[in-house]
């Protein structure tokens, strides 16, 4: 038994929440999220201003989650970012709505968001980084293979 969730505890509160998810339909939580997504999409169209919903801040039952995932569906783009930790970015069936998960180096999920944007900012390259890369590449072209000679001499 290595995780807290492996300990068999039956609590009345969570049992009750799961029962309420079986009623069918969207459930109050999911309907509210979809309505907020519609507002964020309209704002994206009108003002190019991206938005996001923090899924971990919302009290969602596993049932609500499954319903939300089913409604949003899978789009055409799936991307993985390997930086400090792993990030998974999946486009949903709704254009401009992305499901983004961030994991830490131990593989624990540290953030889960629904991102409303043309492209989530974590996938884009930043102008200052592009400028720095251009300078570095240009410098490399001016002094080609100079370091190779030194390396060979040292050996």
């Amino acid at each position: 038994m290595s995780r807290l969730s492996d300990i068999p505890i039956r609590s009345e509160s969570s049992a009750r929440i799961e029962r309420s998810g079986e009623d069918g339909g969207l459930g109050g939580g999911v309907a509210a999220i979809l309505s907020e997504l519609a507002t964020l999409l309209e704002r994206l169209v009108a003002a190019e201003s991206p938005g996001a919903i923090d899924l971990r801040s919302l009290p969602m039952s596993p049932m609500d989650r499954a319903v939300l995932q089913r409604v949003l569906g899978e789009g055409e783009v799936q991307a993985t970012v390997t930086a400090q930790g792993l990030s998974r970015v999946r486009e949903t069936r709704i254009s401009g709505v992305w499901w983004v998960e961030h994991f830490d180096q131990q593989g624990e999920m540290v953030a889960e968001l629904i991102d409303v944007s043309r492209v989530p900012v974590i996938l884009t390259s930043a102008p200052d980084e592009i400028a720095a890369s251009a300078r570095a590449l240009r410098a490399q072209l001016i002094t080609p293979s100079g370091s190779e000679g030194k390396h060979a001499a040292r050996q």
């Binding site: 807290l4 609590s11 009345e12 509160s13 009750r16 991206p50 938005g51 996001a52 919903i53 923090d54 971990r56 801040s57 970012v81 930086a83 400090q84 930790g85 990030s87 961030h102 830490d104 624990e108 540290v110 953030a111 889960e112 968001l113 900012v121 974590i122 930043a126 980084e129």
Partner: protein
């Protein structure tokens, strides 16, 4: 431990440690989530911080048990290593720094001189003023003198823990050392109180990060606590709240109700009058919090929590919404008055007696105002 802040932006510092911009976005997004801030702030914070210079932070410990610092070192998001190496320049901290004795005191003096007017001063522990300040000294100087000097060049003061914010346990009756909160000693600097005994680690690091990334004092409540973390009561956000609403209470520890996870109100839980983020951010990387572990809230982030009667006596509903004690402004007025009389050190116990008297008058006034 650097003696003075290097003039590097956070972004440059991150690259030196092999952390890319995307890695930093991941870090800031996780932080924003942990801090329950609006989710779009993560990416914006990353952009802003990357181009900012690392602010100098001076951390002073006075009359305290180091529990707050122990808590801080257990922050999951952001981790303390991340904060220390990438986002801030921690120029003095007597618990962490390798230097000792004169070298340590020189580091403090240099940090304060080089960053005058710009450094963030973090205070942990109350400030004892009895016996000429002799109850807490470092390098032959009293805490109250060190605080006054360090406060002069600070951009802002962050009081970490209930002791520095409200006096805490040293301030509890009969307050044998003449302890005061920082607000009673310093009255001309912006002060942020991050209370708790100890505070939640992510609330400490989150408050620091929020301040250094925006350069602004966040929205504060009447006790100078950031509303982002202290805006709700534990009771408001407690997962056992539905049982309270249904009138289902545990009557003793380990009875049927306790085993079913019912509300701990009748066992003395102070959740209804306690403002903190335990129910949402939780502890130990979001594992649990006292109520989830089966014990009521002690109310440790509220002023005077140690003097409010038994932790196991049910609160009367008359106490709900009652102002805590002492309010920082009240303590500040009293502190300023005492300083003006040149009497803080000599008559500390009399001062505390006065404070208590004012405190109950203030309570009565607040109470009447609420009722009227």
């Amino acid at each position: 431990m650097p003696l003075a802040s290097e003039q590097l932006t956070v972004g440059e510092m991150l690259l030196r440690h092999g952390i890319s911009r995307r890695g930093f976005i991941q870090f800031c997004t996780a932080t924003a989530t942990a801090m329950a801030l609006p989710p779009w702030i993560g990416a914006a914070m990353a952009e802003q911080l990357r181009h900012a210079q690392r602010p100098s932070v001076v951390y002073l410990s006075f009359q305290e048990c180091t529990g707050c610092f122990e808590s801080l070192t257990r922050s999951f998001a952001p981790t303390i290593e991340n904060l220390i190496f990438n986002v801030i320049s921690l120029d003095y901290d007597d618990t962490l720094m390798a230097a000792a004795g004169d070298a340590a005191e020189t580091a403090l003096a240099n940090a304060m001189k080089d960053n005058f007017g710009k450094y963030v001063l973090v205070i942990d522990g109350s400030v004892p003023t009895g016996a000429g300040g002799a109850y807490c000294t470092a390098g032959g100087r009293s805490a109250v003198d060190i605080l006054r000097e360090a406060a002069k060049g600070a951009a802002a003061i962050v009081c970490v823990g209930t002791c520095s914010a409200f006096g805490g346990i040293p301030f509890a009756d009969p307050n044998p050392t003449g302890a005061w909160p920082v607000t009673a000693i310093v009255n001309d600097k912006p002060i942020i109180n991050v209370s708790g005994c100890p505070p939640i680690p992510e609330v400490i690091t989150g408050t620091l990060l929020q301040f250094v990334s925006t350069g602004r004092i966040p929205d504060l409540d009447e006790h100078l606590r950031p509303k982002a973390f202290f805006g709700n009561t534990i009771h408001d956000r407690c997962y056992r709240r539905p049982f309270y609403d249904e009138g289902k209470f545990a009557k003793s520890f380990d009875d049927e109700g306790a085993r079913n996870g019912w509300c701990l109100y009748e066992l003395g839980c102070k959740g209804p009058t306690t403002h903190n983020a335990c129910a949402t951010i939780k502890w130990n990387g979001g594992t649990s919090f006292p109520i989830e572990s089966g014990h009521g809230c002690l109310g440790c982030s509220e002023p005077g929590f140690w003097d409010k009667g038994s932790f196991y006596a049910a609160q009367s509903s008359a106490e709900w919404g009652k102002a805590g004690t002492p309010s920082p402004r009240r303590a500040l007025e009293l502190g300023a008055a005492a300083v003006a009389a040149g009497a803080v050190l000599g008559v500390a116990s009399a001062g505390v007696g006065r404070l208590r008297q004012h405190r109950s008058e203030q309570d009565a006034a607040d109470h009447n105002q609420k009722e009227g």
